[in-house]
Every structure is written in C-alpha cells, then in structure tokens.
Amino acid sequence: MFNYILRRLAYALPILLGVNIITFALFFVVITPNDMARLHLGDKHITQEQIQQWKHERGYDKPLFINKDSQGFDMVKETIFYQKSISLFFLDFGTSDADRRDINYDISQRMWPSLAIAVPTFIVGLLVNITMAMLLVFFRGTHIDTLGVVLTVILMSISSLFYIIAGQFLMSKLWHLAPISGYELGFDAWRFLILPVVIGVISGMGAGTRWYRSIFLEEINRDYVRTARAKGVPELKVLFKHVLQNAMIPILTGVVVVIPALFMGNLIMETLFLGSVLYIIGLIITDISYTWVDPRVRLS
C-alpha cells in the first residue's frame, strides 16, 4: 500500500508540472507584468518610471523563461517562470504582488467559508440523492418510478441559475426565513448555510438521483440480488445491504472527483494549482477506498 501511494505520487509530478506550465502561460498572457503594475498602482498620476520600479521590486522585470544575461543554471533560475512558478511545487505560494501579503496564510483563511458551504451541500446532497434513487428503484415499474423519472428530467432541464435566483427571492425576500447573504464565525454559521445548501442540494437533485438510480438498477438485476430476494430477504434489506454496498465503487468514483471543486475560491493561479493537487490526491484516495469497500480489489 505504502509503495503504491509513493508510486502514484511520483506519477503525479509530471502532471503537476504540466498543470504548472499551462496555468503560468494562461495567466501571464492574460495579465502582463505591465498590466499588473497598472492594476496595483492605480490610475491617476502614474509615471512609467513608477511602473518600472514596481516591476523591479517584485521581480517582474526578468525574462519569462530564459535569461540570456546569466550563466549556467541561473539562465533558468533568474526568470519569472522559475521564481513565480516552481515554488508552487512545495505548496509555497509566496507573497501577493499587490500588498505583499503571505498567500498561504490568506488561502488558509479563505478556505473555511467556502468549505463550510461546500461540504454540507455535498454530504446532504449525496444522502438525498441516494435516498431518492433507492426509493425510485424500490418502486421500479410503478407509476411512482415513472413520475420520479419525469421529475428528475424536469429538474435536470432547469438551469442552476434559476435555482439560485428563485431560492434567494423566495426564502429571503418573500418569506424572511434566512439571511440573504453573509457569514458568521462559529456555531452561528448554520443560519447562513441553510440557503446555499438547500439551493445546492435541489439543483443537484435531478442529475444525481438519475445517476444513482441507473447504478442501482444495474446492480439489482444481478444474480446474487435475485438469489437473495428468492430466499425471502426483505426488499429493503436487499436494497440497502446488497445493492448499496456493491454500488459503492461507482459512487465513490463519482464522488471523489468532485472534491477539489469544493475548494474553489477566487480565480487565481494558486487556486488552479491547489485544485489539481487535490484532484490527484482525490484519485489516490479513491483507489484506496476501493479496497476498503470491496476486499477483492488489490492495489498494484
């Protein structure tokens, strides 16, 4: 197991390097150092000389990839790419260009509000979707199932934007049931989480329920389930014990890939990189969790 994880991590390195190059290229084409200086210095009374000073102070007056004025390793090292990008590998995001704040610290601060919404939405959504899917599978072939499937298609066909707009409008403006926005530290936070969590769960319900329903349906037609049922095992037990347990692998595969999205905050280069790191970690965890759900799976 340990060996396996090590090997997977080694695989991750070239991938992260690729991510690094892509994000770096994207960002430096979008916002050139000149733009950055302008952005941070403001509009009024700014001279070219001040822009030059700003860039010099932050190391943006170096060439992008290769420094022809230097010798040996410095040719690579004395460049914007190396200095701004390589340190990401050590998850050291350096200081922000604007006010020179430590980004690591800021990310760790900013992470919590978004996690506080994302994690409950994710868990509640998962539970709701699986329960609904179970119900539909349980009543398969009846009108309830048909009605349910039609409902999921309708839910799926509504853009998530409508859920957000309608949710805010009804819950806060019309019914005064939840604060329309905001955040609170500590336990009191839950009042602010209700609205986004409810919206998040409902908007994911259509697609989620349908997806799990198809997984369960596939599982329920297998021989062992039929045998169990023939033996007189109650339907609910069949569903929750056999079907759910065996559907765990596809569920996990779908779940873990979503996790990095939970961390998404602002559009900055660091988030992109952090997101992909989490994704890779997520993949490894998925593999490990397979062995935990299904002892037949071996890591090789």
């Binding site: 604007a98 019309l174 005064h176 049931l177 530290l185 602010f192």
Partner: protein
C-alpha cells in the same frame, strides 16, 4: 409513533425559533453600533499607498492629516485637523528673498509652508509603542518563540502610545519616496516637493545594493522638508502651487511614527500578514480592531482621541434639516462601526430595507421602488419608503464621465480641420445624454455643460452655464438642439445623411469603452442608436480595463468613454485633463484626448496659480468657450449620489471629497430594533406545507411498501 411525533414537534419548534433573516449575532442588537458593508478586500491601508474611495472610507477615520474639510460648509472649506491652523505659504525668489503675497508667478522660485501642529495629541494604543520598565520597546525584536502565539494584532498583550510630534509628518513625506512602498503620488509630488526625487534615487540605490530588511528613513534627509521644533515643520515647494493645501488634507500627508515602520518590518510579522496595510496606526477618532476580508471589518472608538467638537455652524438650510442639533458636543458619538462583507448590490439593498444596514446608495435597478421624480423634476421618496421612515439625501460628486475624441492621431473626428470640428459638434448634439441619464442612471446625473461639475469654482448655473453649441435656452430650461441641426452640421462636415459626400461611402466610427456590466448589451445598443440618428454606423469596441488603458496610452482609438474623479475641489483638477503638455500619448499625462490648443494652454497656466475671484472666473469662462467650440469631448454627465438613510441615523451630510464623516454620525439603536421587529416577521406556511408534503409522501410510500411485501409473501407461500 409517539416518538416520531415528539421529534416532529421539536423540529418544528427549532425551525420557528431559528428561522429569521437577521444576519448578525444577537449581541449586536441595541448597541450604539453603525452597520454597513464593504464589497471587496481592502488592499492598502498604508496612507502613503492608499488611493481609492473604498479604502478612504476607513482610513479617513483613522489618520489625521494636517487639514480636513468642514463637514457642513459648502463650497468645500479647509479647516485644521491635526494642525493648529491652515498654513499660509511664503514666496521666495531664486535668491531666497521673501516676496509679497501678490508677487507674479514668474518671479516665485519656491514657496514655503510652515505647519504647526496641536499639542498633546496621542496615538491610538498599539503594540509598536509598548515599552518595558527600562523604557525599551517590547515588540521591536520578536523571537521565533514569541511569534508563535501571535496571529493577529489583538494577540499582543501590551500596547502603548505616545505624543504626536512634527517629525512624524516629515517621516511620512519621506515614505512617499520609499522604493518599496510605491506611493501613487510620488511621480506628481516629486515635481513639487524639493528633494523628493533625490531622496528616491538614493533610497533606490541603497535598496538594490544592500537589500536591507529595514530601510531606516531617519538616516536619509529630505532637503525640502525640515522639522523646526517638536510641534512645527516646514515644506518647501518648487514654484507656486496653491493646490498643495488640498493635498495636505489627504491621508498621504498624515503622520506616521517611525516606530510603526520599525515594528512592521519584522520578518515574522510579515509572514503572518501583520502589516501597516492591514492594521493602520493613527491619531484619529477611530481605530481598526478587526480586518477579516472574508467576514468583517470593525472600527472602534480610539480611547486616546484628542477630542473635537461638532461644528457650530453650517451651510444655509442645515439648521432646518436638524444638522446643528449636536453643535458643540464632543465627537465621536458612535462606539463602533461594523462593516460586513457584501459582494453584491441586491442582497445589500434587501438587507437595507429589512433594517440590517443603516444606509444605502441606490443602484439603478431598485430606484423606482425608492424614488419618484416629482412633476417639477425633483427627486422625492416614494410613499412606501417614506412610511418606513427612510430619508433621501442627494449630492453632486466632483466627477465627470465624458466621451473624448482622439484629437491628435485620428483624422476623421480629431485634429483642427473644420470638417472634424463640425462632425464632433453634430455628434455632441445627437448623443442624447438626458435620455442616457434617464434610462441608465434613473435621473441620477446631470448632463455636463463643461468639464466643471456643480460645486467647483467656475461652474455656472442656468442660462449662463449652458453649452450654446449643443443646447438652447428655452422657457428657463436647457433644451438639446434638434437632431436636424446635427444633421445639418454633419452635411456641412461633408457627410450628408451619414455618407461621404465624395464617395458615397457610409461613415463608420469606433467607440472604445471598457465593458463588464450586466447591462452592457443595453448600453451598446443605446450608443449605436444615438449615432444611427445621424445615419452614422457606430462600432462599439469593448475591452477589459487593462486593454482599454493600453489603447488610450498608445492613442489607438477614435472615440472613448472615461471618467475622472477630482482629487480636490479646484477647477485646475479638471482643466488639466485637456492641457496640451499633459497629452497621454506624448507625455503619459492625463490628457487622454490629446487635445492641444495654444491659447487654452496659456490660459490654463495663468488660471492654475490664481486665487478664486473675479479675474480667475473670467479666464475660466474664456477657457470653457474654447473647449465648447472645439468640442474635444462630448461633455457626458456628472453623476449624482442618491443615498438613503433610515431615520435612526442622524447628522448625515455626504461629503464626496472628505469621507471623514463617521465621527459626526449618531445612531438611535432602539428605533432600529423596533423597525427590524416590524419588518421581518418570518412567513412560516411554506415550511409547514413542505413538511406536510414530505409526511404525505412518506406515509404513502410506507403504505405501498407494506402492500407489496404482503403480496410477495402471498406469492412465496403459494409457491411453497
């Protein structure tokens, strides 16, 4: 079954008790707290660096520059803040001989401002001043171990304070030249303050060569600024620059004690993001105690504040508005001001109506709800708002949004050719700013007649103020000239019906703007419609702001839309946007249209250094006439600020330049509490409905399940 019932009851009780929309903890109720919001992270609270109204909203309450604006008087009047009086400059010729006050500008080589400051003023409590029994600073040399428990400024156990001295002001002026601070006004100030450029060059060199952790500015003198004694300092300005007084009212010239820089330069603190940009240190009425960009910013009363009283007199009409009730009472009145993160305007507006914010600007989209324009064209509150006890206060911002033509590099609309001038005037008539203001700003703007907005010296009202090339004065009102006039001008310019006289080619013009708003599409459509009135085809080129600026910088545009917010209330701060030598393309100045007219430039140089009076007004009139004739800009509009206040907030008078009114405001927390109680009763029936629905579904499902199991058993028994 009884169990489920109990659970249900508990859930219901919980829901009813917890379901309300109050976005604050209960402890905020009934307190003398002002509640408002901020929309994005504050980047710079360092007074040498900060230059945006978002940040000024905070730091103007914290720092005290030598001067400030009178809260109530209009036109804007300077009064002392940390200084004892508004300084009078002395003028000297090149040989150092004193000159009389009315000396001609050419003779003046430099001016000297001697500023004396109040005695006994103390800084807010701050760890950088904390000393031990031996009188040494406790926190100026923090070890790793000490640092391990420090994460925020409030984690420091001890704080100290000290008296304000003249050297702190001088130190801050030196900071403007600091290579690591990158002060936005360094470029401008180095033209005026003697020795600032030399200081910057020297510091730059030291910084590059030695890369010190801490650059001690005390070791580097600034020739133009000197400390006379503990309570007096002098600033030497090149030539004559009367506008310097206005700069002395800005945080750039507020005092910063050297201890602060020394303290914040420690590596451990930088690593923890404890810096002057995050935790400012000042002598003002408030101090910043919490700065969490994802949550809240809190200002609290500074216990060491030297005291100030509410103004004794105001502008005409202020007494009737109840603005002088508190005259002579010591300020500040409010214990703390709490700002909550609010990224979007819609939630902000809803919370304002629900009583969770004390004041609100009105965005164009909830305007109809709040404000009705009465028959005589004045804005009043709708009955609905008035019933809620909300008040409306309007003010003119010293700002202009204008459409500029490329006067230097474009041959169709720019340049001195007569045809281009006629074309510009035709377009100025066709561009119906009244309609723009009505559709997109809901009347919250005034069509500009010249660069000068209301409240700036030189602005004229009524028939004297209209632009005769675009407006007629009819029945006591400015009326835009009919579109036929514009078409005639267009024909004279050589484009009858929007087609080139010679080739028949349709006239195509380009408008460069920066986009990004939700109503972009509507606005672009509207611009096109205006030009279409003249059969001119307009192509709108919208780009992000960086790209837009780049185009302006290179002169790569034909017509553009930009705005300018004045630094100080002086006509010079508007006219310099059209001063030839300030051309953006040639000299990277602020003259984005690259307009150049020798006569105008000469008048500008003359006007710049004059004191307000008849003579200056005459020159300004002449300058405006030149501009209107040449029409390098379509004059655009001056935005009006409409703000709403709940009746529990008192002493409100917006000051668009000063921003330091927090200390004068008063809050009646009890009224606020009653209002909230009244307007936020939760509506519970939807919850009940959903609950009933869920129960019905569950019951049905259980019933069905039982039926099925029953049938299955039957089948099994039959089989057996």
């Amino acid at each position: 079954m009884r169990f489920t019932k109990t659970v249900l009851l508990i859930v219901l009780a919980l829901l009813t008790s917890a379901c309300d929309n109050n976005p604050y903890p209960a402890s905020f109720s009934d307190k003398n707290i002002r509640l408002s919001a901020f929309s994005s992270r504050l980047k710079y609270l360092d007074p040498a660096r900060s230059y945006s109204s978002d940040e000024y909203q905070f730091i103007r309450q914290i720092y005290e520059p030598p001067l400030q604006y009178h809260y109530l008087k209009r036109p804007y009047t300077l009064i002392p803040s940390s200084a004892t009086e508004v300084p009078k400059p002395q003028y000297f010729d090149a040989n150092g001989n004193a000159l009389p006050e009315n000396a001609p500008v050419e003779k003046i080589d430099h001016s000297l401002y001697e500023i004396s400051i109040k005695r006994g003023v103390k800084y807010q409590p701050h760890p950088c001043f904390a000393r031990n029994d031996q009188g040494q600073f406790i926190y100026h040399n923090l070890s790793e171990q000490e640092l391990s428990t420090l994460h925020e400024l409030s984690d420091f156990e001890k704080t100290g304070s000290r008296e304000l001295v003249a050297n702190d002001f001088v130190y801050q002026i030196k900071r403007l030249a600091h290579p690591r601070i990158n002060s936005p006004i360094y470029g401008l100030m180095s033209e005026y303050i003697v020795g600032l450029r030399e200081l910057n060059e020297r510091l730059q060199k030291v910084n590059d060569e030695q890369k010190p952790d801490y650059l001690d500015l005390e070791n580097y003198p600034l020739t133009g600024v000197e400390v006379v004694d503990d309570y007096t300092y002098r600033v030497k300005i090149k030539g004559k620059y009367p506008q310097f007084l206005y700069w002395l009212a800005m945080p750039f010239f507020a005092p910063i004690p050297p201890e602060v820089d020394r303290f914040y330069s420690q590596k451990g603190l930088i690593k923890r993001n404890i810096s002057l940009n995050w935790y400012p240190v000042g002598t003002g009425p408030y101090m910043l105690t919490m700065n969490n960009p994802n949550y809240r910013i809190i200002l609290e009363k500074n216990p060491n504040f030297h005291g100030e009283v509410y103004p004794l007199e105001g502008a005409a009409g202020d007494k009737e508005l109840g603005l002088l009730v508190d005259a002579g009472k010591p300020v500040p009145f409010i214990d703390s001001a709490i700002y909550t993160l609010e990224k979007e305007t819609i939630p902000y507006w809803n919370k304002f109506l629900q009583g969770y914010y004390d004041a609100s600007g009105i965005s164009s989209d909830n305007f109809d709800q709040a404000v009705a324009i009465s028959a005589d064209g004045n804005a009043t509150l709708t009955d609905d708002m008035r019933d809620k006890g909300i008040r409306l206060i309007t003010s003119v911002r010293p700002t202009i949004f204008y459409f500029g033509f490329n006067m230097m590099l474009d041959q169709v609309v720019g340049g001195t050719a007569e045809s281009a001038r006629l074309l510009r005037q035709a377009i100025s008539i066709a561009m119906d700013m009244e309609e723009f203001i009505s559709i997109f700003l809901n009347e919250r703007g005034l069509p500009a007649q010249s660069p000068l907005p209301q409240g700036i010296f030189g602005h004229r009202e009524e028939d004297k103020g209209i632009n005769p090339y675009v407006y007629d004065w009819v029945n006591g009102k400015a009326k835009r000239k009919p579109i036929e006039t514009a078409r005639r001008l267009l024909a004279q310019a050589g484009y009858p019906n929007g087609r080139n006289e010679k080739t028949g080619e349709p006239l195509v013009l380009y408008l460069d703007i920066t986009g990004g708003g939700a109503d972009d599409k509507s606005r672009f459509d509207w611009y096109r419609k205006q030009f279409a009135k003249l059969d001119i085809q307009l192509i709108v080129r919208a780009t992000d702001y960086s790209r837009f600026r780049e185009k302006i910088q290179k002169g790569n545009f034909q017509i553009f839309l930009w705005g300018w917010h004045a630094d100080y209330p002086d006509p010079e701060n508007f006219f310099f946007l059209l001063y030839g030598p300030h051309s953006k393309v040639k000299n990277s100045g602020e003259n984005a249209a690259n307009y150049q007219n020798d006569k105008f430039d000469a008048l500008f140089e003359q006007m710049k250094n004059m004191d307000n009076g008849e003579a200056r007004l005459k020159i300004i009139d002449e300058m405006i006439e030149i501009l209107r004739y040449d029409a390098p800009w379509m004059w655009g509009f001056h935005p009006l600020d409409f703000s709403l206040y709940h009746d529990w907030e008192q002493n409100v008078k917006p000051h668009p330049i000063a921003n330091n009114g927090l200390k004068y405001l008063r809050i009646d927390a009890k009224t606020r509490e009653e209002y909230r109680e009244k307007h936020n009763q939760p509506v519970l029936w939807p919850l009940g409905l959903i609950l009933i629905l869920i129960i019905v579904v569950i019951v049905l499902a259980v019933r069905l399940y039982q039926q099925r199991e029953h049938r299955k058993l039957e089948v099994l028994t039959q089989n057996n």
